[in-house]
Symmetry: C2
């Protein structure tokens, strides 16, 4: 899972227009406050919650969230797009509630997202994220593990106060995320990973938290179970579409702006969805790809080999499959949103956000 705000390069999704991220949406389009206002509300509460950590961990948390640098000096610029919290608050409005009432849920979702970033970076050995050293890389593995635990503990505390329905949805999501990450780790050593395995993994790693975000937003508005579940399905499909876009960008995006090293996923032989689709295509390109992917990932891979891998995945249909599947998942998200009967005003902003996430040109 990576932060969409970190991506700055266009990817061409046939038949779908590129749209701006909804921070540029006019305030009136999503109800009583703009996306910027929702983001500010969340950020203030998030900072207050993180401010309760012991000093040694707070310092590292402020670095991790991009509010401070390694030496504790404030960082100028955007505090990040806070996509998941904004999704919680927009779903709250779309379900007929007030965004303000959903702020604790929004904060909990952002906390658990960052718990997973911290621990995934340790497990994956990723040394950089968004052009900065990851926490384990800058402050050591112990601090990265503990800060992740701390953010999860704060998230528990927050959702516990929201009642059993929200806490149950939250713990379901957490278990799904852990299972997704377990699959992802297992993929590193398994040689016979299927596309179906990959889809299950993505549903856990990315879909579960976006499902939870939308479900919690709807529950905060007092939505009945069926309606809340539809909001959740909107989030789950959106999560898969989001992941497919992410996988495409990670292979064909511009590393200058993704914040990840050139061909990172390819060099580490990561079995992302376009790769799994390509491998299952039965083409000559798939055979050659399987041969190259089977090689020892510890062996250095030059830019030429990354280029060859990307070309093979594209030739074997992995890219077009991912783009097509992304469109299907997006369509399924919209259908679920329709079933959720969103309030008209709020629905416009929610659709703009969804479209921006999936069809992002950055």
């Amino acid at each position: 899972m990576s932060e969409p705000g970190a991506k700055k390069r266009a990817v061409h999704c046939p038949g779908t227009p590129a749209v701006a991220l909804p921070e540029e949406t006019s305030p009136g389009a999503i109800g009583s406050g703009s996306v910027d206002e929702l983001r500010s509300l969340t950020l203030a509460e998030l900072k207050a919650v993180v401010g309760r950590l012991p000093e040694s961990l707070r310092h590292i948390a402020e670095y991790h969230f991009g509010w401070k640098d390694e030496r504790g000096r404030p960082v100028q610029g955007s505090p990040g797009k806070l996509v998941r919290p904004v999704l919680v608050l927009m779903c709250a409005r779309a379900a007929g509630g007030q965004a303000e009432a959903a702020i604790p849920a929004a904060v909990a979702v952002e906390l658990v997202h960052n718990f997973s970033l911290l621990h995934d970076d340790v497990m994956d050995g990723d040394a950089t994220r968004r052009h900065r050293l990851t926490v384990w890389s800058a402050f050591g593995t112990g601090n990265a593990v503990l800060l992740g635990d701390a953010l999860l503990a704060l998230a528990f505390e927050t959702v516990t106060a929201l009642g059993r329905g929200s806490a149950g949805a939250f713990s379901d999501a957490l278990l799904d995320m852990v299972q997704g990450q377990a699959k992802d780790l297992a993929f590193e050593v398994e040689t016979s990973v299927t596309l179906s395995d990959g889809m299950t993994m993505a549903a856990g790693k990315t879909g579960a938290l976006l499902r939870c975000a939308c479900l919690l937003g709807a529950l905060s508005a007092g939505a009945d179970e069926a309606r809340a579940v539809s909001f959740g399905e909107f989030g789950a499909h959106l999560g898969l579409a989001f992941q497919l876009t992410d996988d495409v960008l990670s292979i064909w995006g511009d590393p200058e702006t993704t914040g990840k090293p050139v061909g990172n996923d390819l060099r580490t032989r990561k079995k992302t969805l376009p790769v799994l689709a390509a491998l299952s295509s039965g083409t000559a390109a798939a055979e050659r790809l399987a041969l190259l992917y089977g090689r020892d990932p510890a062996r250095p891979t030059g830019p030429d080999e990354c280029g060859e891998l990307a070309a093979l995945i594209e030739q074997a249909g992995g890219r077009s499959w991912a783009e097509h599947s992304g469109q299907q998942a997006y369509a399924a998200a919209i259908a679920a949103l329709e079933r959720a009967r969103p309030e008209a005003g709020a629905a416009v902003g929610l659709l703009a956000l969804a479209e921006a996430l999936v069809h992002r040109t950055s």
Copy 2:
């Protein structure tokens, strides 16, 4: 935090008789079932919950809990003493409830205890526990982090179903544990750690979970808040007494039976409570100890130096302080238990367990 069952060596606590661990207590002493029965009830449910993990993690969990070896073969012998779950179930009975109703809480407490063991071993770099390789050491850091996360997710799911009171007590304990561990990590680099800092750390790392265990047991029995809080205080004081015993054993215990390498805490210059008490004594031994403790812990320390450190701590009064403080904490635990007005039959077993934990000769 280490498992009391791993310790096999007597430590002399003046004025208090050594007692056997209550697995040898007669069944009638604690109500309708023996400690062995309580342990079996918990173990069956714990195995069922762990059995829901994805296969790759389940395998590692079964190793971690000591049910299987690295290759997945069943391990013969004791499944461990399950001290914390037994404490939950005994407190449930002592508060007038049924042990059976408290099993989910008991399982949640054992899960969170094991989450902390897994992550603490990563953070502390401890390669062995109970004579076996730790999970990070046998299966890699990524698996140890993820299995910890998974056990915590299962624990959270379990307590969520118990209602807001229990879930709130659980998340309080988790936050305290994280804060205790943060202090413990910070102690590694800080040079001016006070005894008061050490006591706060121990309250978080060990006291918080035993408080939670007793509180959850009482809540499962429908105890009112004041009574449940008294049970919690019993657990918190017991936890401190338990930690003091542990610290004494880690310096003067027999490594053959503690399962930790000779003088492990001393070699890594761990600022345990007896050490902090010794350092604050203003004696000549304290000065010499401060000098030796200030040396680079990466430098190899021979058995002679460990022996000298242990002798200096004892000369500076660290051992007698720890033993005396342990007795005080134990007395405070008993006073709290009296305030909790335990059911007579169950109280006997609870007292025997408490005494065995604190005055353990093993």
